[in-house]
């Protein structure tokens, strides 16, 4: 957060980033100037000034402003309810070295490792009988994450996690050799989810069909050295639940009855699509790069709306379509400070919390009327 601010101060207008962040930056700039002006003017304000503020002309102006704000609010938020702009799936790691100090090597441009000799790649045509059994080779993968524990505090606005690791007993001569494929998956806790479909009933669009899925990762990022289809056969990917299409998505028991296979399939696709739109499912085909004969790393974005709960980081090592080794590590994602307190308060002592809310509300109302009474009358 602090980094981003510094960046903005240095180059306010020079980053028309694709997400409309340029507009946001400008808004931030404006509000900051307004804030400083207000801060300077505030000590000079006396209660009598408040009264003189409330002249008819000012009030009419205020009414106009209020109308305009509301009109903008009504028509601005047309339908796009995504809380975060989606992560642009650029293959290169974004330059944010201050966030993570883990591997200090310069970030390798991903496209370097893409080209392979066509004969060599041949995405593992029906290779061997049991492609999942680790091969005779002694290669194994080890990995770790840059941050073991991410705290969600009141100013949490997303973060980045670096997953890095090494291929033990690597036989590759250079980072560009491309002998190995690494797939890194960071996934959140599995929760049940309900998918609903609207259809037109008497002119209104109403939820008419719902499917309950027993278990679905709340967050799922997949970062690989190459597109998954080139790395291994669907059957292999399926077995390990690698890739959006291969995430286990089973309708909970009786909830699925009466649905055709097609309808179920479109529910599945809709879930993935919506999750991607929310920035919770991210796929980066060239997101993982080798930066040494055995060392690899990838940067994974955790958006601000990431559901709270422990995350699993799973690393898969492939060679020629066969899975050689896996490694799993955990990232703790939890509320901290006032966020943790308020959430626990709201869910565990909900009656007290409700009363607390009312007390706060009453206090706010009283404080405002006490504050303004002196000035206004």
């Amino acid at each position: 957060m602090a980094d981003r601010k510094k960046l903005n101060d240095a180059t306010p207008a020079a980053q028309p980033s694709p997400n409309g962040a340029g507009v946001r930056d400008r808004v931030v700039q404006t509000t900051r100037t307004v804030a400083t002006t207000v801060r300077r003017a505030l000590p000079e304000l006396s209660p009598a000034d408040m009264g003189s503020l409330l002249r008819k002309r000012n009030l009419q102006f205020g009414f106009g402003v209020a109308l305009v704000v509301i009109l903008i609010a009504i028509f601005r938020f047309t339908g796009d309810t995504k809380p975060v702009p989606p992560q642009p799936a650029v293959p290169t790691a974004p330059a944010a070295p201050a966030v993570v100090a883990a591997p200090k090597e310069p970030v390798v441009e991903a496209p370097h490792i893409v080209p392979r000799l066509p004969g060599e790649t041949a995405p593992a045509a029906p290779l061997t009988a049991s492609p999942t059994v680790p091969a005779a080779g002694s290669e194994a993968v080890e990995a770790d994450v840059s941050t073991r524990s991410v705290a969600i505090t009141s100013n949490f606005s997303g973060t980045e996690i670096v997953v890095f690791g090494a291929v033990d007993g690597s036989r590759q001569n250079s980072p560009e050799a491309g002998l190995y494929d690494v797939v890194v998956i960071l996934e959140g806790t599995h929760t049940p989810i309900i998918s609903r479909r609207k259809s037109n009933v008497a002119g209104l669009w109403i939820n008419t069909q719902s499917v309950r899925f027993a278990s679905l990762p709340s967050y799922y990022t997949i970062s690989a050295t190459r597109p998954l289809e080139e790395i291994a056969e669907p059957a292999v990917l399926n077995q390990h639940g690698i890739g959006f299409e291969h995430v286990r998505l089973i309708p909970a028991g009786w909830m699925a009855h009466g649905l055709t296979a097609d309808e179920l399939k479109s529910h599945r696709e809709a879930i993935i699509r919506l999750k991607q739109k929310d920035g919770l499912y991210i796929r980066r085909d060239y997101g993982t790069v080798f930066i040494g004969r055995s060392l690899f790393r990838t940067q994974i974005a955790l958006p601000a709306n990431v559901p709270v709960g422990p995350l699993d980081a799973r690393v898969f090592l492939f060679r020629e379509g066969r899975m050689l080794s896996t490694f799993t590590t955990k990232v703790n994602l939890q509320r901290e400070g006032i966020e943790a307190f308020l959430h626990a308060f709201a869910f565990e002592y909900s009656l007290l919390y409700g009363i607390f809310c009312v007390v706060i509300a009453v206090a706010a109302g009283l404080a405002a009327s006490a504050l303004f009474k002196r000035g206004a009358h």
Binding site: F63, A66, F156, G354, C357, V358, A376
Partner: protein, 308 residues
């Protein structure tokens, strides 16, 4: 500047919600309405879950009605007895409403129900208000004075049993209509995230024939207590009151309302009522549009209710 909302579970820009609170607060202070009927749709449009918007808005209405209720009470504009009768009905209605929210959320039809309620009530109220303000404007232009109250008319309401004397309102009527009105408004408030003043005030004027000078005070008095109960019920039953979001709205809202209240005393009524009616109809059309036009995304996801 962004702040993470603990119950809505999203990161939100402080100034957006402060500004929204101030703008709605100004209008609500000006017209003596709670502002919930504007704020809740705005929250939903801005990406807050409908249930969280409704629960949080209840808390904000408490804040925005406190100062008004106290001011009216000091000016002796509150019929406490009438308020208590309305209130008893209101609490029952609120309990029913919060339960209904819970059931509808489980069925996945809550958003639809909220939208339909808004379209219906905003449509009716907006149209009536528009007609009324146009009539007043025309009559004012013709030089006639208009009074809202037509005393001396008797209706079926006066034939009901359980008669009570309401001194402050100079009324001797049955307690059943105020109880029913209170219950209806309480239920609607819990579902729509509104105080219900926009229904309460016309109902008191036209159905109960309460004098206009005590109508606003009494309705504020009952709204204050009913929304307090609704807030607590939403917090315990649905866990949908986001105190951080509510505080942002409150800060914007109470400040806006103070200015709005003074503006309401100083400015001319009919044109502004006409504008408010226009605004109400606009919100109504906007919500109705979403119901009628084919959405770009037919699917929606939700977790299990209370599944935390």
């Amino acid at each position: 500047m962004n702040l993470y909302l603990p119950i809505a579970e999203m990161s939100a820009n402080i100034f957006v919600f402060l500004g929204m609170g101030a703008a709605v607060g100004f209008l609500s202070g000006m017209f003596g309405v709670g502002g919930g009927f504007l704020m809740t749709p705005l929250l939903i449009f801005s990406g807050i879950q409908p249930a969280v918007a409704v629960g949080t808005e209840a808390a904000q209405i408490v804040a925005s009605s406190v100062s008004g209720a106290i001011a009216q009470y000091q000016r002796r504009n509150v019929d406490v007895k009438m308020g208590v009768v309305l209130l008893s009905g209101g609490i029952v209605g609120s309990v029913i409403g919060v339960q209904l929210v819970k059931v509808l959320r489980e069925l996945g039809q809550f958003e639809l129900f909220v939208s339909l309620s808004y379209v219906t009530f905003l449509g009716i109220i907006g149209t009536l208000m528009m007609i009324e303000s146009l009539n007043t404007m025309r009559k004012a232009a013709a030089g006639k004075s208009v009074s809202m109250r037509r005393p001396g008319q008797h209706s079926w309401i006066h034939g009901l049993p359980l008669k009570m004397r309401f001194h402050r309102s100079k009324l001797y009527i049955s307690a059943i209509p105020p109880l029913l009105i209170g219950a209806f408004v309480g239920m609607l408030g819990a579902i729509m995230g509104v105080g219900g003043g926009f229904i309460m005030v016309p109902a008191m004027i036209y159905l109960l024939r309460v004098p206009t000078n005590v109508v606003v005070g009494t309705s504020l008095f009952q709204i204050l207590f009913v929304t307090s109960v609704t807030t607590i019920l939403h917090a315990t039953q649905n866990h949908t009151v986001d105190i951080v979001l509510a505080m942002l709205l409150m800060i914007g809202g109470v400040i806006g309302a103070q200015f709005g209240a003074v503006a309401g005393e100083k400015l001319k009524g009919e044109q502004l009522r006409f504008l408010l009616a226009g605004l109400v109809l606009l919100v109504c059309l906007r919500i109705g549009w979403n119901l009628v036009v084919e959405p770009s995304e037919l699917y929606s996801l939700s977790g299990l209710v209370g599944g935390h």
